[in-house]
């Protein structure tokens, strides 16, 4: 018995020594090959990935999250995990100098990344203004402020163009829209959400604006009371069946949006909820659905 224990101990010590040697051996040559000044970015935010490509920084990206599905080139980059579940080892093995995070990431993971000397750029975005600021900030940090300014300018121009479509409609006559973020339990977007701002820029009034939270779970009877003129279903899997689903709910058949067939279930959520360069395309699509005739007359 004693012999076996000694043997195990011996094998374990050798294995440990080999492991330590491998680690040391691997780490030493890693530094000279990478230039300390080269920008190596990992973007965990699908929106920021798009923005980085838009600013011409695509070739500086060395890793993305699984949620980064646009532009197509981004899907070919190494993936370091899904939203909120990133793999530290994969990330560090890519030797990033900068990591762009989202609200979903775990604080302890990001703290560990930061303490290993990597610049961590946080991205809490609740309004379109904050989105522009995030573009300008990343432009400055990456030495591309001009490109960031161009992007922001272009998107502001888009927004102004979209605004023209409904500018003539006074605020109180703009369509009252209920955004259904999830159906079970009923979840909507309150005034603290990015969607609330997006909807306002598309010319809609958020039925749930009175709730000063981001994505509250609400009583379905409240929706009946709001009596929205338009219902937007954010779950893309209901595409094509939205009206049928909403009409089938007890009491919901009396909602104006249901009576007038104004249940929208076919918008691309990547364009609409992602605070990235394509957001204005999504807002334009939504606006065109809210105001089917030019300038809302």
């Amino acid at each position: 018995m004693k012999r076996i224990i000694t043997l195990i101990f011996l094998v374990a010590s050798v294995a440990m020594a080999v492991a330590v040697a491998v680690v040391l051996f691997h780490q030493t040559p890693a530094h000279p090959t990478t230039q300390p000044t080269a920008l190596r970015i990992i973007s965990l935010s699908p929106a920021m990935t798009e923005a980085l490509y838009e600013m011409g920084l695509g070739d500086r990206l060395v890793g993305v999250s699984q949620a980064c599905n646009y532009p197509p080139e981004a899907t070919k980059l190494p993936q370091v995990g899904s939203l909120g579940m990133t793999n530290m080892e994969t990330m560090l093995s890519l030797a990033p100098t900068m990591v762009v995070t989202t609200d979903f990431e775990r604080d302890d993971t990001m703290q560990a990344i930061r303490s290993s000397g990597v610049q961590v750029v946080e991205g809490h975005i609740a309004t379109i203004q904050q989105m522009f600021e995030s573009f300008e900030k990343i432009g400055k940090l990456t030495g591309h402020p001009q490109q960031a300014a161009t992007l922001v300018q272009k998107m502001k121009g888009d927004l102004a163009g979209i605004h023209a479509r409904f500018a003539a409609t006074p605020v109180e006559r703009r369509p009252r829209v209920y955004l259904e973020v999830w159906h079970d339990p009923i979840t909507t977007a309150g005034s603290q959400s990015f969607m609330d701002d997006v909807l306002a820029h598309a010319g809609g009034t958020n039925a749930a604006h009175e709730i000063s939270r981001d994505y509250p779970i609400i009583s379905p009877e409240k929706v009946i009371e709001w009596n929205p003129q338009v219902v937007v279903l954010c779950d893309e899997t209901t595409r094509g069946r939205g009206l049928e689903i909403v009409r089938g709910r007890i009491g919901w058949e009396r909602i104006d949006a249901v009576k007038n067939n104004r249940v929208i279930d076919d918008l691309s959520m990547d364009l609409l909820i992602r605070p990235g360069p394509r957001l204005t395309q999504g807002i334009r699509q939504l606006c065109e659905r809210l105001y089917p005739t030019e300038s809302g007359r």
Partner: protein
């Protein structure tokens, strides 16, 4: 018997009052005239009805399991029905199947819970068709634990925005949109309650222990299987309609037993009435305390029910 009638009258009156409260308050102000009109009124009516059915079902299932397993800690989820249903529901939610129709999620949960208890039954069944209580309990607890870890695994690899929805399901959700679903749950629970009341004498015998029950003419194994199926069907129906609502099935039978004694002929119907009353009030609270935001019903049942039960326990020591 006279006293019995008075008790039921009192409990029915309490249930009606709580239903009136449940119908009267909510995120939206309703005048009494609107209550039965289409729209908000119907929606709230459906919800209160579902809550009555769920509260009664959980309590009766708790009564049966406590008698069947002769264990004070038994409750509707003790044999793994909750973990099986939870795993199935989580899969349905995370795979995005729940949008295919109003029936997919409840159907999945029902199947998950029934399959789980069937598995527990198969594992616990001894030679010659005997169904020993301790095997049933152990098999239930272990199968439940395994399925719970699978549930945790599924949740851990799920996208964060969907995890939230699974969490909600696991804390109970009494939002209802489909009359058919309400009807199905009602039929199962009412039938289960009816059979339980008819066979309440057998439950009394079972609590005496295997031998005494057999001497008094009860076919113990046959009864066990019957009550096992009965309680599992009720639990499955309730879980399918409302997710997991803890505490009701545990504390309502105990509270009622403390108040009126252990005779199942009165305990079963009284627990159903008290459970329904309690859940209607708890749901009214959950719907209105932060309106129009709703808080999970499971949190309310535990926070309100726990201290109340401890109060009862302290006041009147059980045997």
């Amino acid at each position: 018997m006279k006293r019995g009638w008075r008790l039921y009258l009192l409990l029915i009156a309490a249930l009606l009052v709580s239903c009136a409260i449940g119908l009267g308050i909510g995120a939206v102000h309703l005048s009494p005239g609107d209550l039965f009109a289409p729209g908000v009124g119907q929606l709230r009516l459906a919800r209160v009805l579902l809550t009555v059915v769920v509260g009664a079902g959980l309590s009766v299932a708790g009564v049966i399991f406590q008698a069947l397993l002769r264990n004070p800690l038994a409750e509707p989820y003790v044999l793994g029905a909750s973990s099986g249903a939870g795993l199935a529901a989580a899969m349905v939610i995370l795979m995005g199947w729940s949008v295919a129709g109003a029936w997919v999620l409840p159907g999945g949960a029902f199947v998950g819970s029934i399959l789980t208890v069937a598995l527990v039954y198969a594992l616990a069944r001894g030679s010659g068709g005997a169904l020993p209580i301790h095997s049933l309990l152990l098999a239930g607890v272990v199968v439940g634990a395994v399925l719970s870890s699978l549930l945790m695994f599924v949740v851990s690899i799920a996208p964060p925005e969907r995890v939230h929805n699974v969490m909600w399901w696991l804390l109970g959700n009494l939002q209802i949109f489909d009359w058919g679903l309400l009807r199905a749950a009602t039929v199962l629970v009412v039938c289960g309650l009816g059979i339980t009341i008819l066979l309440a004498r057998d439950l009394n015998l079972m609590t005496l222990g295997e031998e005494s029950a057999a001497h008094l003419g009860l076919n113990v194994n046959q009864s066990r299987v019957l009550f096992f199926i009965l309680a599992s069907l009720i639990t499955g129906a309730v879980v399918a309609a409302a997710g997991l609502i803890g505490f009701v099935g545990l504390i309502v039978p105990h509270s009622v037993r403390l108040a009126i004694g252990p005779d199942h002929r009165r305990l079963a119907p009284a627990s159903a009435l008290v459970g329904a009353t309690f859940l209607v009030l708890a749901d009214a609270f959950a719907r209105t305390i932060m309106a129009p935001t709703e808080i999970p019903i499971g949190v309310v049942t535990a926070c309100l029910g726990g201290p109340f039960f401890l109060f009862l326990l302290k006041r009147k020591r059980p045997v």
